[in-house]
Symmetry: C2
Subunit: 307 residues, 2 copies
């Protein structure tokens, strides 16, 4: 057996070796070469690359996001199944990234850096975390750990999800009606959403109008969820005080993007939840083994619900 | 009865009102005016201001640091007692400040900001928190919550204290012999120390030489604990990768200080553990009432051990 593989990531070779190790030495070949493989492990693979893989049965994502898999589904045979990467290490990484960018703003580190450039010493005060609400949009395998980490740090947390849920220790609002309630009192709105028809462009003027004046936006989901023009307008109007953005409609973010030069915006190059080759390859290998031996997927992606 | 009060803080009037409220309307008068008061609540009061307060019995600190009280003791009558401010809100604030500056470096937010200025998109990788050791020097009423918050975020924590202690869920090294063991494997060394004869200038070349090459220093204690020249040399030599400094020998940090312009250094204007007038005044009022009614201090400062 062999496995096909595609990613443009800098650490592609590390992943390749980790997958080979996790699969007891199975050959890991480039997707572009085609072949008799039953499984492909990919990130942003071009649809045409699948043309010469007649026996393909499963496509695994190298990351938690799966919109890149869903965009393949119309051009692949209908019986091919899809799996996302679920790795507790990625959830921890995502949670600490969000904690890092929220605390940076909450504790004025961004403003102190500006003062430092001017050699200016001025104390700035801050609310206590217990008096600061953070709304976490998305309560999936990454959104829940994000909310839990913020709550553990002392913030008041509210969640928002597609469907109601009452099994968490923070309130979760649901549906488009619940969105206003979720964000209205929040100093921070953190989006950890899958990209679906409902969440595309959700971070735009209507949502910003529901947010508290001066609130801060964090997007660690997908760039297509945010309307950059609306964000810039909201910043100009003082509706939002700033944003920390990790995902963009076009990546790398083009040099001509007006987002780069806004000092209220922190741009990180899609690193909030880097997948870890060692633990990630083991999780993917376990999913492949379950699939090959029993036809079972634990982290299946469903095209109808879009995640 | 009346209370004497001195601070140069911007929010002095807020504190004054909060103390009056917490003490059922007791008059809060400027220390400089002298008078028959038994208690003074101060931050950095000049010793000569106490000349006209003959009945003084207790001096309370407006913050957790008490070196400013100890420097008064040689010039005040020997029976005057001293009390520090212990407020759980301050401990939480300190813990979140340290978490904020550690996560900023750990998750490369400082480097991503530099890349952003150049419109440069490049992923940078990071160790997992579980593989990253943070050494917390000082295990007092602020050091312990700092260590607990870092441990809760997933970091490996080791502590260092003057005396051995085994009641904490992380290892604590003690004595000058234990210092090397505490810091040798740490990616971050966080100093939350009282200023004493032993800790004065402790953050200097000998300690930096014990640290792992490329380690990061956080000082939220006192400026007198750090030898700025040694820090700059250690940065130039690449021994340390950077530092987040909240306290300085002279505050405000003078505009001519070479620390301002080092991009590996983050300067915050002594805000890590801002005292909270509402909760702080209640804690101080409770201490004053205990002292007046029973002669008992819960948070007494002892001149012999210097904290």
């Amino acid at each position: 057996v062999s496995l096909l593989f595609h990613t443009a990531w800098e650490n592609a070779e590390v992943w390749r070796a980790a997958l080979r190790d996790a699969l007891d030495g199975e050959a890991v070949e480039p997707l572009e070469g085609g072949g008799e493989a039953d499984v492909a492990v990919v990130w942003n693979a071009p649809p045409r690359a699948f043309a010469a893989v007649p026996r393909l049965k499963l496509v695994c994502s190298l990351g938690a996001g799966v919109d890149h898999l869903l965009s393949l589904s119309p051009v692949l045979p209908g019986d091919i199944r899809f799996s996302r990467l679920v790795d507790p290490v990625m959830a921890e990484r995502m949670a600490l990234h969000v904690l890092a960018v929220v605390l940076r703003r909450h504790r004025n580190l961004d403003l102190f850096e500006r003062q430092q450039r001017d050699r200016h010493w001025r104390r700035l005060f801050h609310d206590d975390a217990a008096d600061t609400t953070v709304a976490v949009l998305g309560q999936g395998s990454l959104g829940r750990p994000v909310a839990a980490a913020l709550a553990a740090a002392g913030f008041k947390v509210v969640g928002w999800a597609r469907s109601p849920r009452t099994d968490l220790s923070w309130p979760v609002y649901s549906g488009m009606d619940g969105l206003h309630e979720a964000v209205a009192g929040a100093a921070f709105v953190v989006a950890v959403l899958p990209l679906t028809a409902e969440t595309r462009s959700i971070l735009s003027a209507p949502l910003f109008a529901m947010m508290r004046p001066g609130a801060y936006l964090v997007n660690v989901g997908r760039g297509e969820q945010m309307v950059a023009r609306d964000l810039l307008d909201a910043l100009d109007a003082g509706r939002l005080s700033g944003a920390a953005l990790d995902a963009f409609e076009s990546e790398p973010l083009p040099p001509e993007s007006p987002l780069w030069s806004r000092r209220e915006i922190l741009i990180t190059p899609h690193v909030a939840s880097l997948s870890n080759p060692a633990t990630g390859a083991r999780a993917i290998a376990a999913e492949i083994c379950r699939f090959r031996s029993e036809g079972i997927l634990r982290n299946e992606v469903f095209c109808d619900r879009q995640y």
